[in-house]
């Protein structure tokens, strides 16, 4: 029996026309995926792309050597965490085979599939994952711009801003007034302002018990409201006062030099420490890439988190329009895994696996008082839907042991998701 090499190859080629497994696998291995942003979304995407595609070239662009997380930055403000414990490096991702470049992505050309870095490097990509986080709408509140934030911090991107707010709290006299202005609309971490109020209350109760906290809110209600207010009353008496939109809570102007906040009806509040959680939008590089819409956020296909506007760009995390999923670190991590799986399947010529997401957000009200909200989400066509009957907040009538368990599980969540994303880094 003589079998010609050509005959066998011809047969394989005929088979290849049906399935082409070898060819597309080779393409997937040769592909270059660039990830912009090394936070909850981006670093997760890089790690899971690496796991799913050994041999693929994966480049992560992140300006900072160590990423400071917004989750648990309120615990740092409350004195319950050291700074180093909420920062993460990239050595473990490098060890896994991800090329990490500490530089700023300055421009993205979606047509040429090209990323330009501030340092001058130019990277060509087959697929791009953008996890740009948030930016602020400066001057949406009159007088609140980048210069004002150096006097009156937002601390809504963790880093020097968080440390500035902490130093102001430490410098405040006992009996001082801490004021927080809280935005409405879409913003990062819906329960975050109220956890921050809780942790500031913990710090003040411990060190400056005559002080007060005033929350000026642009909303009529807020995330986990009943649970927060129950915890505040139990742990901090009447230290925290919350003023809703209807009660003139909306701040319209900030005088940073005098640390005053003016409300919609004309009341001026003078603070000893003033913290502004301002109106937000997608991180600016998303605008450069052309993936944002008129809302300032990024519309995506729910099944893959690919941009609706620019092909071959997947966007994950707080920058996206992913409601009913909240803008949380947990969601960014879950979305990045779906995006990584979709990219891997597409490059390998396979069907996109059905998207499935969950979210669990813990908030710490006091040292032994944790609360949570959870949800389960699926993609139907390209919309994201919440699974009915699942999720919800901690029970309002839970006992002290339950609250204590959720405080411990909150810390467990932070350890677990950090390991999932940055590893030992």
């Amino acid at each position: 029996m003589i079998i010609s090499r050509r005959g066998i190859l011809g047969g394989v080629a005929a088979l290849g026309a049906l399935a082409m497994p070898g060819l597309v696998r080779a393409q997937a291995a040769a592909a270059h995926v660039v990830v912009v942003g090394g936070g909850f979304g981006g670093a997760t995407a890089a790690r899971y792309l690496r796991r799913l595609n050994p041999g693929m070239r994966i480049t992560l662009i992140e300006p900072t050597q160590r990423f400071a997380t917004c989750p648990f930055s309120n615990l740092y403000l409350g004195g319950l965490r050291e700074w180093d414990s909420i920062t993460h490096g990239y050595d473990d991702l490098r060890a896994a085979g991800v090329e990490v470049i500490h530089d700023l992505a300055q421009d993205i050309d979606g047509a040429a599939r090209r990323v330009v870095l501030a340092g001058g490097d130019v990277l060509d990509y087959d697929r791009l994952v953008l996890s740009p986080g948030i930016d602020f709408r400066w001057n949406a509140i009159e007088g609140y711009d980048e210069a004002a934030a150096e006097l009156v911090p937002h601390a809504w991107r963790a880093g020097p801003q968080t440390q500035l707010l902490k130093s102001q709290l430490e410098a405040m006299e006992d009996g001082g007034l801490f004021v927080m202005s809280i935005t409405d609309g879409a913003f990062r971490c819906p329960p975050g302002p109220y956890e921050r109020a809780s942790m500031v209350a913990h710090y003040l109760t411990t060190h400056k018990p005559k002080s007060k906290i005033l929350l000026l809110d642009s909303k009529e209600n807020f995330s986990k409201q009943a649970l927060f207010q129950q915890g505040w009353a139990a742990l901090y008496g009447n230290m925290i006062e919350w003023i809703s939109l209807a009660d003139d809570g909306q701040v319209v102007a900030i005088d940073a030099a005098n640390r005053t906040a003016e409300t919609n009806f004309g009341t001026t509040h003078r603070a000893d420490v003033l913290n502004v959680v301002p109106p937000q939008k997608a991180g600016w590089i998303a605008e450069r890439a052309g993936v944002t819409d008129a809302t300032g956020w990024v519309p995506v296909r729910g099944g893959s988190f690919e941009s609706e506007q620019v092909p071959h760009i997947h966007v994950v995390g707080d920058a996206t329009i992913a409601a009913p999923m909240p803008k949380s670190g947990f969601c960014a991590n879950a979305q990045a895994k779906v995006a990584a799986a979709a990219i891997s399947a597409e490059l390998a010529g396979r069907d996109t696996p059905p998207a499935s997401f969950a979210n669990t957000c813990y908030s710490l009200v006091g040292v032994d008082w944790g609360i949570s909200v959870a949800g389960v989400y699926r993609a139907e066509d390209d919309s994201i839907v919440e699974v009915e009957g699942a999720g919800g907040v901690s029970p309002i009538d839970a006992n002290a042991a339950f609250r204590k368990a959720e405080a411990a599980y909150g810390a467990g969540w932070y350890a677990a998701i950090s390991a999932d994303i940055w590893g030992r880094g």
């Binding site: 399935a19 991590n333 779906v338």
Partner: protein, 104 residues
């Protein structure tokens, strides 16, 4: 036997194997996506470094019973009772198999 005859014999076998392995790869990818959010609290592949229990490598029957219990309200938990209501029997079986297989 001619090359053509051999091709007629071998190709359907190769095609079947390719389709079967493609189906297995799709199934595996779907299971991995379904299991993705679990790592958010239980750690990478279910290996928890903190206060939340590890689930990696637990017996499949035990995982199945625990998750079903959380969903049906016959087992107590803080957040798992809320989360598991979002998963049907087939999905719970997939997750139980996944974390049992993933190894300790």
């Amino acid at each position: 036997m001619s090359v053509r005859q051999l091709n007629l014999m071998v190709l359907p076998m190769m095609l079947t194997a390719t389709l079967a392995s493609a189906a297995a790869a799709d199934e595996r990818a779907a299971a991995q996506v379904l299991a993705g959010p679990c790592a958010g609290c239980h750690g990478p592949d279910g290996h928890s470094p903190g206060a939340i229990p590890s689930i990696a490598g637990l017996p499949e029957a035990e995982l199945l019973a625990r998750m079903t219990g959380f969903r049906d309200g016959t087992a107590d938990a803080t957040v798992m009772t809320r989360l598991m209501k979002g998963y049907d029997e087939a999905q719970i079986a997939t997750l139980a198999h996944w974390f049992a297989e993933v190894g300790q």
